[in-house]
Amino acid sequence: MSEIETRFLAPPAATGIRLDLTGAVTRRAGAIVPLLAVIVAWEAASRSGIVTPFLLPPISAVLGRVWEDAISGELALNLGQTLFRSLAGFAIAGAGGVALGILMARRRWVRWFFDPIVSVGFPMPKIAFLPIFMLWLGLYDVSKISMAVFNAIFPVITATIAAAEGVDRPLLWSARSLGASERQLLREIILPAALPQILTGLQVALPISMIVMIVTEMMMGGQGLGGAMIAASRFADSPGVFAGIVEIAVAGLCLVKGIALLRGRLLAWHQETQEPTTV
């Protein structure tokens, strides 16, 4: 091979590999750099003396506090309570919202009955119902979980209706002509065909469920991350409050990543999970 040929042939292959590597590294680092920047700024601000450590304790102190909570078992208890209630609320809202959404899309009388209720309920500030929930359901898990369901179910319903209505008609027709009954259509065709959009609705509902749970815990007190933060703030325990923020942030991030992973699993057949393209 002549020198010129080598020169012309070699570079593309080499850059190709290098590009791939930098691509992967930047993608990983890309997510961490901004977070690190915030953390560094936080630490710097609290050490510089611009704010007192009471208003903004250094992150090192906050992380120390998270560590103490973890050792004492406090963290596991509160985190466990919050996660259990958030996920229970999310699961109920998910199952109920998907079922109701599909029925609303496919059964006229269900649509007729629930459409106005959903239209009124969705934009309403549902946290205002908390006193009623407390009156009716008490101060413990039932009312807290109900509150999460009440908030998280609306995005699931609306996403499911849109998804179920958007299913390609020939898809339904094929199933019918292959012998499926009208009822079988719901579960065997409409549900899987609508799954990508339904999952998007669920991905919105999960953080809502967690946010509402923490707010509810803050207002009702008791165990859980929200309750612990309110307790810490009553005792003017500033690192305790910030430790709660960090714990919530990490837990929320894990939940969101988890459901994104689940999406990739469930949609292995979908074009979004196939090879990446340039556009």
């Binding site: 898809l171 027709w173 094929s174 199933a175 002509s177 899987p192 065909a193 057949w269 979908h270």
Partner: protein, 264 residues
């Protein structure tokens, strides 16, 4: 008229009424009878209502004007007696090729072993052996089309409604599939309505060719095309070439009309 009429389309008109838009008259007074075990091709310019007519016979759209009878009974919804291959395949994207073909067989209640055997047989028939576990998103257009054909043939319907089933295939695969379809039809003697744009394909496959007018579609002329299809020289025979020419002239006039009205 061959044998007894299997499908009777009696003065059917169909109007699409999209919300907040002008209604579209897709079919205007279409009458057509298809004999038991007949192979009928439906030929006409784009937008003349060929798919609409198949959807009506399939029972997917309500028959609002006129009547459609299959084996003497008015069509009332879809059923596995009328298998359809859709123009855009309509494969279940979350199912593999194998699962797609199995779906109708499960609904038929065949035992498991039998289902797998039949599904494999038809996947092989359309040349998709080795792709049983691929999802539709991983197949080419022609492969999707063949998967859809396998899925429909597998449930062994007595009527086959095919909407440009070979449209996405290359010339070689297309002629292989045409020969295969003829073989299946001759062996099982199904009643076939076969929509196509390809005049030669229509003349080669069908016993009768219904030429439709530009939109609103009605049957402009029905041409008999009975040849000895076992004859390997058929495609070059004078009769065949003249028939293609004749049908082509009928269709061309309508295509020009369709183009003008489309541009207007």
């Amino acid at each position: 008229m061959p044998d007894a009429a299997h499908i009777v389309i009696d003065r059917v008109s169909h109007e699409y009424r999209p919300a907040r838009r002008r209604p579209v008259l897709a079919l205007d007074d279409v009458s057509l009878a298809v004999g038991e075990r007949e192979f009928l091709a439906l030929l006409g310019p784009s937008g003349c209502g060929k798919s609409t007519l198949l959807y009506l016979v399939g029972g997917f759209l309500p028959v609002e004007q006129g009547a459609i009878r299959v084996e003497g009974r008015a069509v009332d919804g879809p059923g596995p007696d009328r298998g359809i291959v859709f123009q855009h395949f309509a494969l279940f994207p979350w199912k593999t090729v194998m699962q797609n073909v199995l779906y109708g067989l499960e609904k038929k209640g065949l035992p498991r072993e039998e289902r797998l055997r039949v599904a494999r047989e038809f996947i092989e028939l359309v040349g998709l052996a080795g792709f049983e576990d691929s999802y539709p998103a991983q197949l080419s257009g022609g492969m999707k089309q063949r998967a859809a054909i396998a899925r429909t043939l597998a449930i062994d319907p007595s009527i086959l409604l095919m909407d440009e089933p070979f449209g996405a295939l290359d010339a070689q695969t297309r002629s292989l599939m045409q020969a295969e379809l003829l073989r299946i039809w001759q062996r099982s003697r199904k009643t076939v309505i076969f929509v196509t744009h390809d005049v030669q394909e229509a003349v080669f496959l069908a016993e009768r060719i219904a030429v439709m007018s530009a939109r609103p579609g009605h049957i402009k002329e029905i041409v008999e095309a009975r040849f000895d299809r076992a004859n390997p020289e058929l495609l070059r025979s004078r009769q065949f070439v003249e028939m293609v020419d004749h049908v082509w002239n009928l269709v061309r006039g309508e295509a020009i009309l369709a183009e003008r009205s489309g541009a207007a």
